[in-house]
């Protein structure tokens, strides 16, 4: 009797250990799988050549993904530039100024925002953001566009990023010790000066981590951006140009890839590059967050 319980316990331990190893190696398996599939294109073009080349002509065997990377980069960067100040100010207001009740009523809204699927944001973008840019914003700058622009993608993306970024900001502001604020206030600083000169300076690594994490989230977002960004293959020159982000390239071309040699391998290569970019961003933000935790300990 006693034995059976211990045997059961040990067997489950080994089983769970196996599941744990398998689970934690999924990231590695995904990376290796994508790398193996992109091997043919790397063999014939070299590893870095497709990243720096702007010529995407699959029929001629030219697979330069630079326009897509630049497209993704612009869309993500502008989205972050819009989201960042809005989220930071809101988080500061909710934590430092507003009564606790306001924060509690605000949480369900964030829940909703983070629960809405990407495709719904896309629908909203087509219905509201695209016409707004076409009819109001672009004419204001004397530009004529269809509305399906880098800017439309960025605006939709910036709304999608709000819940992620704001929750991290709230967490970070909460980890700043209360004594620091009190010390600054007692020296005669106003509340805003305390926040600006003490709290935010202390929280800087966390703020950077939130930025980087938002950037990685933005880079990988597929459907919502793809629906409003226009999908024209060229390096965009202004925010009112159409762009073609990297994830959209993979999503749009899957049906036709099998008839052209190396095409599927090129798409897998772009998936691999996307994976690498996001991985680097994630690890960077992890490093910054660890640094924040270390600073807080002293």
């Amino acid at each position: 009797m006693e034995n059976i319980r211990i045997i059961k316990n040990n067997l489950t331990y080994y089983l769970f250990y196996g599941v744990g190893i398998l689970g934690s190696s999924i990231v590695l398996i995904i990376g290796i799988g994508l790398l193996l599939k992109s091997y043919p294109v790397i063999m014939s073009h070299g590893f870095f050549q497709p990243i720096v080349s702007a010529e995407w002509f699959p029929l001629k065997g030219k697979f330069g993904i630079l326009p897509f990377i630049v497209g993704s980069y612009y869309v993500s960067l502008i989205a972050i530039a819009i989201t960042f100040p809005i989220c930071l100010l809101t988080a500061i207001y909710l934590i430092e100024y507003a009564p606790k009740r306001t924060l509690n009523t605000f949480y369900p809204f964030i829940d909703i925002l983070s629960g809405i699927p990407s495709v719904i944001y896309g629908v909203w973008g087509i219905l509201i953001v695209v016409p707004f840019i076409r009819d109001y914003l672009a004419p204001l700058f004397g530009v004529h566009t269809t509305g399906y622009t880098i800017l439309a993608g960025s605006i939709v993306l910036s709304v999608m990023l709000v819940p992620n970024v704001i929750l991290i900001f709230i967490e970070i502001l909460r980890t700043i010790p209360q004594e620091l604020r009190e010390a600054a206030l007692s020296l005669g600083a106003t509340k805003w000066e305390t926040i600006k000169l003490v709290v935010l300076r202390k929280a800087l690594p966390g703020v950077i981590a939130a930025l980087v994490l938002g950037m990685s989230r933005a880079f990988g977002e597929t459907l919502a951006v793809m629906m409003v960004v226009g999908n024209v293959i060229k390096i965009p020159k202004s925010v009112f140009d159409s762009g073609y982000p990297l994830p959209a390239l993979i999503a749009n071309n899957y049906g036709e890839m099998l008839s052209i040699p190396l095409y599927d391998s090129a798409l897998m290569y772009s998936a691999f590059i996307l994976f690498l970019i996001v991985l680097v961003f994630n690890i960077l933000s992890k490093i910054f967050l660890t640094r924040l935790v270390k600073i807080m300990r002293y």
Binding site: F16, G23, W124, Y254
Partner: protein, 282 residues
Amino acid sequence: MNRRETEEKIFVFLMKVTTLMIVFIILLIIGTIIVKGYRAISFSMLFETPRGGYFLGKGGGILNAIAGSFYLAGGATAIAIIAGIPIVMLMNVFLKKTSKFSSFIRLCFDVLWGVPSIVYGAFGFILMVLLGLSASLLAGIIIISILILPIVVRSIDEISQTVPDGLIHASLSLGATKLETGMKVITRQILPGILTAILIAFGRAIGDAAAVLFTAGYSDSVPKSLFDTVATLPLAIFFQLSSPMPEVEDRAFAAALVLTFIVLCVSVCSRLLTNKYNKYKI
């Protein structure tokens, strides 16, 4: 002195503006979807599969996509829970909470959480070819379950870490094995956390489109077996929205309303559940 106070006033004003702006945008999104979808939705839309000439604007509904989404998200959530709970148990009961392997698993799942769903889609395609599957419900379930596994593991893990060590030690000192401690003591403590994780994972699974783009296919009927292709709500919205016919476009809005409604229900339920059970936690 005056300048400092003016600066503060300006910034507090800006903060109030941005907070209201976020709330306004959320209401705008929900409002847009409701107004557009309300006009298009009808009884036959919800309970009929597409008939002939559906994509030319003739009769039928989106039952295929609704049912498909539920099958896909339900199956994937079940698999993710079955695979996820052992991992959480391993990290929190069998190993020490702070052991190197536990932290390593946490790091891996954090990174996995960040991988974009289109990359899962591409990887799913490789996996499908490797296993000799064609685009089907089964392939979709497998890839979605991998997609939501990090959510399940990390959110249950967060709750498990709050279980007091004393509880575990008390159980062990009474002669229970680690397995029994995990299954009979810890599980009871973290049950609300597990339910919330299920809901969050389900919500993410039902809304994801990019990962099933290549793996689930698309079909006009409700799938009868695991090897049938299956339609999902997000893809139904995406495909119908690109149609030039206004009747078909309207169906996309109806489908968007249905999807938003499901996701909002899930989100409200998980919030209520969290609030309700947090009262009784030790």
